[in-house]
């Protein structure tokens, strides 16, 4: 396959970026999208140019590092996959592909296609945990039975990989899907009940502080989320928040 790539290049956080066009040849359908970028970079290095920087690590859709806006869509055209799981067989010979970083005020660009997503960490630090000590004097695991249905739902919510595609997909750059996934995981488990009120309040407060936008229920986040995190989580978080604020 021969392709034309339009890629966002930006030297550092302060520099002004721009789209740059590259031609690339010899791409096979079995290659992953990131392997295609590897080919481009190898080419650039051999030509004495500076390769394109992008975040990636596991390359199997679980670490949440990779984060490209491909032809305007976070993680590209395929559904339920991350950029690293996207394969070139989804494209055709002669295609032009635009590649940009995730765009959001709360995700400033660091360089090229890499953005700063530490706002997500700070939301988790504000309350995304259960306050138990880790030194081991806990009760036997099976003394806390959990209804299988709730356990499965908690697990589904907990599979969020913190990639930020939901924010990049949202016209308001809202982080509701991400935040609600964590709140839901704990809300569905008996272990999470004790701190439920403070948790939702603190996490939502931090989310607002970070400059993420409001949720207007357009649902773009759910469509682009590579892990299929459902909008139900947002509804659940809203209920939790409402009951927390009316209690508090």
């Amino acid at each position: 396959m021969k392709l034309t790539l339009k890629i966002w290049r930006q030297e550092n956080a302060k520099a002004k970026g721009a789209m740059k066009t590259y031609q690339i040849d010899g791409i096979e359908g079995d290659m992953s999208f990131l392997e295609m970028l590897d080919v481009l970079n190898e080419d650039l290095i051999n030509k004495g140019e500076v390769p394109v920087e992008f975040d990636h690590d596991c390359r199997e859709g679980i670490c949440g590092s990779c984060s490209l806006q491909i032809n305007g869509e976070p993680h590209g055209p395929d559904r339920l996959v991350t950029t690293c799981q996207l394969h070139m067989r989804k494209f055709n010979d002669g295609d032009t592909i635009t590649i940009e970083p995730f765009r959001a005020t709360a995700f400033p660009v660091i360089t090229d296609l890499i953005v700063d997503r530490t706002a997500f960490d700070r939301i988790q630090q504000a309350g995304g945990y259960i306050s138990v000590n880790t030194s081991g004097n806990t009760i036997d695991a099976n003394s806390i039975p959990v209804n299988k249905h709730d356990a499965d739902d908690a697990f589904s919510a907990a599979t969020c990989i913190g990639c930020g595609a939901c924010v990049a997909a949202c016209k308001n750059a809202s982080a509701m899907l991400f935040t609600s996934a964590k709140v839901s995981q704990y809300a569905l488990l008996p272990q999470g009940q004790v701190e439920a009120v403070e948790r939702v309040e603190n996490m939502v407060r931090q989310m607002d502080l970070e400059g993420f936008g409001n949720c207007t229920n357009t649902g773009a986040c759910e469509i682009e989320c590579p892990k299929g995190i459902s909008l139900e989580n947002i509804a659940r978080m809203n209920r939790e928040y409402l009951s927390a604020t009316t209690k508090g």
Binding site: E60, T111, D121, Y129, T134, I144, F155, A158
Partner: protein, 667 residues
């Protein structure tokens, strides 16, 4: 040759850990506030250690190269975590977990360490459940288990195919709690480039801010290395792209012995290589062997026809299939340990029975499992006379529930539906049992420098059993290290802050800067990947699943040559003081090029076959590994030398008092 001191406590195996905990010195809570600890790595081992140390009151700094601790490579672990809970009532016990692990490791691990691991394993599950880790459950609300290779009980706890993710997010949440309390300061997108020793003790690190390129000095009273394994020395492996040996290797250069580098695990069930562009390999969890049956065609003509695309695997009749693991190892069948399963796959493919274009793949087939579960489910749903289609649909649901994400991953990569056609799999590099030598306290040969998780060599001998790495990482981090490090730190309560303006820090920083400048100043002939791929080929071909003296010697020579070429001709574009992925890779590959040679040397020195280390010269007539307990029942701990082939060997003799050392048999 000097004797290594393993510092195993006296007394009966069962009492060692309890007694040790009672005997060691503690640091009182007020003094802990004056003590700093650096933890390099935020995977299961580092994340859990950091959280616990901070909770105990120490000031902790963590380092990781990713943008968030949550992205450490542990996140990718799929299948599960072992614990001797005996929830299934199938005869499990601490002793059995201990026994399975020592036997699985082919009698090349330390009894006392492994027993302790088994002893704390149950606590890990309690801990994780209290943290809200959503493990799989049965309808009654209690925890579910599955089986992994090399054992006859069900002791593996899991969260679908995302167990590592859920456990790591648990440790990350514990870290977050401490970050929020100001007890952990997290340095993300930072890479440790050197270990700093003051008066022979580890007192800090030199790190690079990967965004600004700034070189930083960080001091502490002790340094914990939990930087993961070195499987990427093979270029292609199931490890994350950034997984590397740098932190451990820098410590090795500063005096920490490196143990058993040649003990590598080649995992039997990975997606086969598809072409030269390949950047990494993807694991299909061992848990799939609970339900999948492995086979190749019985007749060579059929294999050839399949390779040529003229025959479909689903067209092959039962009697024309060779379920070679079930045939060779009737007692354990598809659940033999990984080293055994990998070699058996290689043997069939080498003999011409491989089933993909390259001839390097075997089938993993779920048809019987789908039908078996389907029948059960039909009954549960009150359908006593189901059609084949109904059975299949019911069964597919069950399999989807258990392994859905793995099947999806496979389909995305291979573009085939594994529910309707068998998966194709082949062995790939996955885990490294070798690592920094540590004593019973997880301390390396450098005082104050500790190693935890995959970065150390401690518990798995020559072969690790499935679902035991997560167990070991969390055991080290939550339950072992926080105790043992206290004994060392108790001597530091009056030391005060370690200054970073000492000549030792000056020198270490200068070394780091010189090295990076040198990397940037190569003649610019070839990219870093060019060298990494070449190294990987040498390692795979000559230090892989089967090794022999001649090829190991060749490997050492070829790697030495490649290393010299690398330092002279590598091309690193960009600049020192900005984000520079090529520079990061170059630093890692430089270390792999030293490790690779030591790896080959270690394999050449070990004139026996054990676990993942298979020397062609040492095998039984049936092709099974032939151990030599009389001469090789020791840990090889290597002392650094600039020229890896000159590294000095120190031996830690292994003694077995609680287990009868036998030939490992899974027949």
């Amino acid at each position: 040759m000097s004797e290594l001191k393993s510092n195993i406590p006296e007394g009966p195996l069962k009492d060692k850990w309890t007694k040790h905990k009672n005997d060691i010195n503690l640091v009182n809570p007020a003094n802990k506030r004056n003590i700093d600890v650096i933890v390099v790595g935020t995977g299961l081992a580092g994340g859990s250690a950091a959280a616990t140390l901070a909770e105990l009151g120490y000031n902790v700094k963590t380092f990781c190269y990713q943008d968030s601790p949550r992205r450490a490579h542990s996140i990718a672990a799929q299948g599960g975590i072992n614990a001797a809970k005996n929830y299934q009532g199938d005869g499990d016990s601490n002793y059995r977990l201990f026994y399975d692990t020592v036997k699985g490791g082919d009698y090349r691990s330390r009894e006392a360490n492994v027993y302790r691991l088994a002893e704390v394993s149950a606590n890990i599950i309690d801990q994780c459940v209290a943290q809200g880790v959503p493990f799989a459950r049965e309808y009654g609300g209690l925890l579910d288990n599955r089986s992994f290779g090399g054992v006859l009980v069900s002791r593996t706890f899991y969260a679908k195919g995302q167990t590592g993710q859920q456990l790591l997010l648990g440790a990350y949440s514990a870290m977050n709690r401490q970050i929020n309390r100001g007890k952990i300061e997290a340095f993300n997108r930072h890479e440790m480039l050197d270990l700093v020793l003051v008066d022979g003790k580890a007192r800090g690190i030199i790190a690079r801010d990967l965004v600004t390129g700034e070189i930083e000095r960080h001091s502490a009273h002790a340094v914990v290395l939990a930087s993961g394994g070195y499987g990427n020395v093979f270029f292609l492996s199931t490890n994350a792209m950034g997984s590397n040996v740098m932190a451990a290797w820098r410590a090795h250069r500063r005096g920490a012995y490196f143990a058993n580098p040649c003990y590598t695990q080649i995992h039997p069930t990975c997606i086969p290589v598809s072409g030269d562009h390949q950047s990494k390999l993807t694991l299909m969890s061992e848990s799939l062997r609970n339900d999948g049956r492995i086979w190749v065609p019985k007749k060579k003509e059929d294999a050839e026809a399949i390779r040529a695309g003229k025959l479909k695997p689903t067209d092959l009749k039962e009697e024309d299939r060779d379920y070679y693991l079930e045939r060779r190892y009737p007692a354990f069948g598809n659940l033999v340990p990984r080293d055994v399963a990998s070699r058996a796959a290689k043997e069939r493919c080498d003999a011409g029975f491989g089933v993909n274009k390259t001839g390097e793949a075997v089938y993993l087939d779920f048809k019987s499992a789908i039908m078996r579960y389907g029948k059960e489910e039909a009954l549960i749903h009150g359908n006593h006379n189901p059609s084949d289609k109904e059975i299949y649909d019911y069964g597919k649901k069950v399999v989807e529930n258990k392994y859905g994400n793995l099947f999806q991953m496979y389909e995305k990569i291979v573009d085939e539906d594994p529910y309707t056609t068998p998966m194709m799999i082949y062995p790939a590099v996955h885990y490294t049992m070798g690592g920094l030598w540590v004593d019973y306290n997880l301390q390396t040969t450098i005082p104050g420098c500790y190693a935890a998780g995959e970065a150390n060599f401690s518990d798995h001998g020559a072969n690790r059993l499935g679902a035991s790495a997560l167990m070991q990482g969390l055991a080290d981090g939550y339950f072992v290290l926080p105790y043992t490090i206290g004994d060392y730190l108790s001597k530091d309560i009056r030391t005060g802050k370690i200054p970073t303006d000492s000549p030792e820090f000056d020198q270490a920083e200068k070394d780091v800067r010189d090295r990076m400048t040198k990397l940037m100043n190569g003649s610019g002939k070839h990219s870093v990947d060019y060298y990494h791929k070449k190294l990987g080929k040498i390692m795979w071909n000559k230090c892989g699943m089967a090794r022999n003296a001649k090829e190991l010697q060749e490997a050492m020579d070829e790697i030495a040559e490649l290393r010299a070429d690398f330092w002279e001709n590598v091309k690193v574009p960009g600049s020192l003081d900005s984000k520079n992925a090529e520079l990061e890779k170059a630093g890692r590959v430089a270390d792999f090029l030293e490790l690779g040679e030591l790896f080959a040397k270690d394999a050449l020195t070990r004139n026996e076959s054990c676990g993942g280390h298979f020397r062609e010269e040492y095998q039984t007539p049936e092709g099974e590994a032939l151990r030599d307990d009389e001469n090789f029942s020791f840990v090889s701990a290597w002392e650094y030398n600039d020229n890896p082939r000159e590294a000095k060997l120190h031996k830690e003799q292994l003694t077995f008092e609680n287990i009868e050392v036998k030939t490992r048999s899974y027949k």
